[in-house]
């Protein structure tokens, strides 16, 4: 099934104006690392393309020779026969040469592409977690697939450049030697051909961007229609959705038509131009004949060569944008290579000892970005077998503390985490992560069967083990009900399962891995109360005596805990048992009363009017997900957005309004709401990092550029 990324017609026109952060020299020297292995292949291909150009240049000379000989008269067929044999031999040789060099290139190129891809992927797999979290998975994947592909295309095309250049120069020299006046006439065609390609790329870029955007919108609409199909059916809304799509489809057609209008000029014009050129040459040779005679063979040669050198010029003007794109791709690939790596094992790292499962957090301070501490001076410890509940408001640092630091996805800036007597920075990551079982907030399943998913953390377990665990947590009932039971394939992250069912599978996966220390980050938040209580019972039974950290959302869980840690804005504010903390009447007591206690409350005694109004939480502004095609924030490109945002920093709301007006003037339409919202947030000095994710990379690049400029 062909659902890979497709290259739009825009590629050849050099649509994406991309500002590189590195010089061509640096890029080539980086590329050389890969190319040097194939130095012989490159030399051979280079030689072959020279040879090819030579055959292409000699051939018309032979015909000229034949024609001139005939025109001179007094020749017999036998004296000319060798000419036709040479002609035949040369054409065949040319064919063989170009076929062979294509073949050799294909071999080299495919190998090289794989090497680059494997390296990029490897590097990304071991990249700093913050980097991976910041970029969208789609963007990262583009590094791995699209950019590497673009690079390979560039390498392949660059070999063509040599033979094109040789053909242009060679043809011109021969033309010059044959008749310098005709050669000069032919030169006139060059600016026209050049102007054509400029015009094409100027208008083409605009139109194709529009076509693409329209394509993206149609695609987005269709995607939504397909994912929301059940809702559409439930409300009998198919007709309306179809109508909406029809309108967008019509829009796409309109822009495509404009593109067609543009393309209609290019090919016919180039062909007609070359025909006009030779007509002019013939006419001109009539004029030359006044003074000196040019043999017919020479005229034929001029006609032939003039065509031979016009087309390579067009080809070259098409190739250069693609080369530029390849350099851009290389630039982004180097970005990946230079990105920060994930934490690495120290040289003296040893496996985690198994004798002591106590966990000590001592004076932890941690920031994802400099000076914005997510955790500050947090200290506490868990005795072996203790169950600790971590509570606190959204954004208090609970997930960072447990899911990111204990697992050592990041290293702390200050303080230390010890398991037993070992600092986790002194143990191998492999042994550390085998010891810790993590269930993340968002249930993530892999493409594969349910069985494979549960086995993910414990590949050596048997199917029997899987079934046993599933039975314990009451998962077997719904798994059995799936079309193929345990062999049912999980597709699209598990779209046919409810989020609760997905969560149950992740819990089974963790349980089967049989870790010594458990980290449950709202692991049962999507389950219904009944299922959750069954799972908790199973958990109690299976993991009795293991050190457990629970980021809790439900009363029952908290009540089970031996101790409760309360985090508030990155600081540990309370630490004790439920009763102790209730007595303190602090943050925990407050949380308990608003979040937890009502979970059993069955009598409603507050009227709706008495409820405080809700507010839109900052984190509820999502990073843009780019589905297919290239959708940008409200039609603004990421670059533009980054630019706007940079300018917006430190501005007052009034100044922001003026900016918005300017945007309106420049783009001819009202700035989209999401942009307004972003700007207002920046003005208030609380830009949410989620929105800027998309553009962060671009902004960084600009900064880098500035530094280079200095």
């Amino acid at each position: 099934m062909a659902h890979g990324q497709r290259r739009g017609p825009g590629r050849a026109l050099g649509l994406e104006k991309y500002e590189r952060a590195r010089s061509t020299k640096i890029l080539v020297s980086n590329l050389w690392v890969y190319l040097q292995k194939y130095i012989w292949t490159i030399i051979v291909v280079g030689l072959l393309s020279i040879l090819y150009s030579v055959t292409a240049l000699i051939n018309p000379l032979i015909i000229r020779h034949g024609l001139n000989a005939i025109q001179g008269g007094e020749v017999n067929f036998m004296s000319l026969l060798p000419l036709s044999i040479i002609f035949f031999a040369l054409t065949i040789t040319g064919w063989i040469i170009s076929s062979f060099s294509t073949r050799i290139m294909a071999k080299m190129n495919s190998k090289m592409l794989h090497e680059v891809r494997a390296d990029v992927y490897h590097k990304l797999s071991y990249s700093d977690m913050a980097y991976l979290k910041r970029e969208q998975s789609g963007n990262i994947t583009a590094r791995v697939t699209a950019d590497t592909g673009e690079l390979a295309t560039g390498v392949q095309l660059s070999t063509g450049i040599v033979s094109h250049l040789l053909l242009i120069i060679g043809s011109f020299i021969i033309l010059l030697l044959t008749n310098w006046m005709i050669a000069l006439i032919s030169l006139c065609a060059i600016p026209i051909a050049f102007a054509m390609s400029r015009v094409l790329s100027y208008f083409g870029r605009k139109i194709i961007l529009r076509v693409r955007r329209a394509f993206g919108v149609v695609s987005g609409k269709m995607a939504e229609g397909l994912t929301g199909i059940a809702v559409a059916k439930s409300f009998n809304r198919e007709e309306e959705l179809a109508t909406e799509l029809r309108e967008l489809n019509q829009q796409h057609y309109k822009y495509s038509k404009q593109f067609g209008m543009l393309m209609m000029f290019v090919m016919p014009t180039m062909t007609s131009l070359s025909y006009l050129l030779f007509t002019v040459i013939i006419y001109f040779s009539g004029w030359i004949n006044q003074t000196t005679t040019i043999p017919l063979g020479d005229i034929y040669l001029a006609v032939n060569l003039s065509q031979q050198f016009l087309f390579p010029i067009v080809m070259l003007s098409m190739v250069f944008p693609q080369l530029e794109a390849a350099f851009g791709a290389m630039d982004r690939i180097i970005d990946v290579f230079e990105a920060k790596s994930a934490v690495e094992d120290s040289d003296s790292a040893r496996p985690l000892q198994e004798d002591d499962d106590s966990v000590h957090f001592e004076n932890l301070t941690f920031a994802y970005e400099k000076n914005i501490n997510v955790l500050e001076d947090v200290s506490f410890f868990a005795q072996p077998g203790e169950m600790i509940a971590i509570v606190g408001h959204t954004g208090a640092g609970k997930t960072t503390l447990m899911s990111s630091l204990l697992t050592r996805f990041y290293d702390v800036q200050e303080g230390e985490i010890r398991i037993g007597s070992q600092d986790i920075r002194d143990v191998t990551q492999s042994s550390l992560r085998n010891a810790i079982g993590l269930v993340t907030q968002e249930p993530f399943l892999f493409t594969g069967s349910v069985m494979e998913n549960i086995l993910y953390g414990a590949p050596k377990s048997t199917e029997k083990d899987v079934k046993q665990i599933s039975k314990k947590i009451n998962a077997d009932e719904f798994i059995d009900a799936l079309p193929n039971g345990y062999d049912t394939m999980i597709v699209e992250g598990g779209k046919k399962l409810s989020s609760g069912q997905r969560q149950i599978i992740t819990i089974a996966r963790m349980m089967l891995a049989d870790p010594r220390i458990l980290v449950l980050d709202e692991a049962t938040s999507r389950l219904d109360a009944y299922t959750e209580s069954l799972i908790q019972a199973a958990q109690r039974e299976l993991f009795r005596g293991r050190t457990t950290f629970v980021i809790a959302h439900r009363l029952s869980t908290i009540k089970d805990a031996d101790r409760i840690i309360v985090l508030e804005e990155g600081k540990l504010v309370e630490n004790g048992t439920h009763d102790e903390l209730m007595k303190e009447d602090g943050i925990y007591a407050d949380l308990y009363n608003t979040y937890y206690v009502h979970q059993g409350l069955e009598e409603i005694d507050i009227k709706p009017e008495e409820l405080e109004p809700e507010e839109l939480e900052e984190e509820h502004i999502q990073p843009m997900k780019v589905p297919m095609g290239h959708m940008t924030t409200g039609g603004l490109s990421p670059e533009m957005l980054a630019h706007i945002k940079e300018n917006a920093k430190g501005k007052s709301p009034k100044e922001i309004k003026t900016m918005l007006k300017q945007i309106k003037e420049r783009t001819g339409k009202e700035a989209p709401n999401e942009v307004k919202m972003i700007l207002l947030q920046i003005a208030n000095g609380k830009e949410t990092d989620t929105v800027s994710m998309h553009t962060l990379g671009d902004m960084k690049k600009k900064e880098k550029k500035k530094m280079h400029g200095d």
Partner: protein, 621 residues
């Protein structure tokens, strides 16, 4: 809801679109070629222009020899710019200019027609696919369908423009060249005709070999992206289970496969054998021409004829670069339309009744021995389900995951039909009622709410686009969401979803309730397996739900004790079967499963459930 609106809906939307399309086009190949049937005038005109421009350009090349012959005579005669020479040059220039115009027009009209076809085929595809029942969506990945609707339709378009247009242009060039050559010398013409027939056959076979590998490459790349995307999305899980190497190996294996296919494709396309035929023909013509020019017999060529023949053959040689690519495009287009067609002609297990009855939704609803397996699967997920929902009653469905609760809701919406047995409304079988009518009487509020990335207004009025502002506001108020909406800068015009504001789970649920309120169903299906939220959200949600359930028959999947206690009927399910049916008190009295379940619900103590049960095992802390 008034019957007239239902009638209107029916006439507006023709759900038989699948039938209509399949009847009209019959096969994938016909669907593909229907392009010319859709825009006959445009294509027809474009075709005429194409023939004209091809003739003129080919003729111009042929004229080169003529004009050179005249030039030779002029030189020998010592004259320059004889009238014949000049008029030929002018003719050539006129030919070039006319062919320029007609070719440009041809491309434009052809492109326009094809973009229209693309638009219509895409729309057709979407409408047919959209009309398939949920059985289709259960077995087909929506990403794949999307890619078909977007990318593969694109490929079909490319097969016609530029693919087929260029191919036609090549064919005309060949034919016209042959005709012109026959005028010079019939031997050359016939040889050319024969060898090009052979050429085309070989070229078609060549394209058939390369095409599939190209398709495979596209699939490979898609898989590669999928593997990589999944790994980066789940990077925490991968790291937590220390499974890097496994993931890298998986990726490398696929990447290597891609590289292998790429190499294979390169090897195959490197040696384009059919080119040899044109090479041999050209070289042969050169030799033959030389012989004819030098021979002293009567039919000898002038030097100009030799030049014309060579020029024509050379320009024919250029087609070698075009034909294979165009053939591959055409084949890809045909193949894609085959795949799309098979999606469009999906054999839907859910069929609309031929003479739809409306049924009286104010009457009782009966399940009679309903058995159900999802279409295409063997697994029976509902076994012998029989019960009655008296009109106006509140029914609670309870059971563990996989017990079949949500399947019952889906059957009531007629997203599927029962495999055996029947669901009846006032004695009318559900499968004899048109789905449109069923769904305008039944509304479901799901657990995982799907909202469209559109404005809040559009989402709330999803079921009733013509709703007035007042209705919308009142629905939002009753759903306890209006207060929140008013705090947003753009109020009801706020865009939600992928590019806008994201709502919390509770807010989404209340939007869905507002949506359901506007649709004002006779039967309400509610999946209320809510997870824990804070007290305010919880309260708001509960008010909203009570408002929604007021004065209508409702079936609620729930774990909430109050709802259970208040329900008229509780249906307890386990593994696709009904364990027991009755009121809360009855079940608490007699049903062990129910007792066990209640005991595991939060705050069972405060509801006094425990005191009623003496068969407790374990118990909570």
């Amino acid at each position: 809801m008034a019957t007239s609106t239902i009638e209107k809906q029916k006439t507006q939307y023709s759900p038989e679109i699948q039938l209509e399309i399949t009847k009209k086009y019959k096969s994938a190949t016909r669907w593909f070629w229907s392009a010319f049937q859709r825009q006959p005038l445009m294509y027809g005109f474009a075709l005429v222009l194409l023939v004209a421009s091809t003739y003129l350009t080919t003729k111009t090349i042929a004229l080169v020899g003529d004009v050179l012959d005249i030039l030779l005579i002029d030189i020998n005669a010592g004259t320059i710019f004889s009238t014949e020479f000049n008029s030929l040059i002018v003719r050539m220039i006129i030919f070039v200019l006319i062919s320029w115009v007609s070719l440009s027009l041809n491309i434009y009209i052809w492109a326009d027609a094809t973009f229209r076809v693309q638009r219509d085929m895409r729309q057709e595809f979407y409408e047919v696919i959209q009309d398939h029942s949920m059985a289709f969506y259960d077995i087909n990945d929506s990403g794949v369908i999307l890619s078909m609707g977007m990318n593969e339709i694109n490929q079909i378009r490319m097969a016609i423009h530029p693919g087929f247009r260029m191919l036609l242009s090549s064919m005309f060039t060949i034919i016209i060249t042959t005709v012109l050559l026959i005028q010079y010398d019939w031997i050359v013409g016939v040889v050319l005709a024969v060898s090009f027939a052979i050429y085309l056959i070989i070229a078609w076979r060549y394209a058939a070999k390369v095409g599939p590998i190209r398709q495979k490459l596209a699939t490979d790349l898609g898989d590669l992206s999928a593997i990589s995307q999944e790994m980066f999305r789940g990077v925490e899980v991968v790291r937590a289970f220390d499974n890097h190497e496994k993931e890298i190996n998986k990726f490398n294996a696929k990447s290597l496969e891609y590289a292998e296919d790429m190499k294979k494709e390169g090897f195959l396309s490197a040696f384009y054998w059919p080119a040899l035929i044109t090479i041999v023909v050209t070289a042969g013509a050169f030799a033959y021409g030389l012989w004819m020019v030098t021979s002293s017999t009567g039919t000898s060529f002038t030097i100009g004829v030799l030049i014309s023949i060579l020029g024509l053959l050379m320009s024919l040689n250029r087609q070698n670069f075009m034909i294979p690519q165009r053939l591959i495009m055409l084949q890809a287009g045909l193949e894609n339309s085959q795949r799309l067609w098979s999606m469009m002609t999906f054999d839907d297990p859910l069929q609309q009744p031929e003479n739809p009855i409306e049924g009286d939704w104010e009457k009782d609803i009966h399940f009679k021995d309903v058995n159900f397996a999802y279409p295409g699967t063997e697994k029976v997920v509902l076994k012998n389900i029989s019960f009655t929902i008296p009109t106006g009653s509140k029914v609670a469905l309870i059971g563990g995951p996989g017990s079949g609760k949500s399947t019952i809701l889906k059957l009531l919406l007629r997203l599927y039909d029962p495999t055996n047995g029947s669901i009846e409304v006032d004695g009318t079988r559900l499968d004899s009622i048109h789905t449109n009518y069923v769904r305008s009487n039944v509304t479901m509020v799901e657990q995982d709410i799907f909202l469209f990335s559109d404005t809040l207004r559009a989402n709330i009025t999803f079921a009733k686009p013509q709703a007035s502002d007042k209705e919308i506001k009142s629905a939002a108020e009753r759903a306890q969401i209006s207060q929140f909406i008013e705090t947003l800068p753009n109020k009801y015009e706020t865009v939600i979803g992928e590019r806008g504001v994201t709502l919390s789970g509770g807010q989404r649920q209340r939007i869905a309730i507002a949506r359901a309120l506007l649709s004002d169903p006779k039967l309400l299906l509610l999946d209320d397996s809510t997870s824990a939220v804070d007290i305010k959200t919880e309260l708001r949600l509960r008010y909203a739900m009570e408002e929604l359930m007021k004065d209508r028959t409702s079936i609620v999947v729930t774990q909430r004790l109050t709802t259970l206690v208040a329900a008229d009927i509780i249906i307890l399910m386990k593994r696709g079967e009904i364990v027991d049916i009755g009121s809360h008190e009855e079940l608490l009295q007699r049903c062990v499963d129910y007792q066990f379940m209640c005991q595991h619900l939060p705050m069972a103590e405060s509801m006094g459930v425990y005191s009623d049960i003496d068969v407790l095992e374990g118990g909570s802390k």
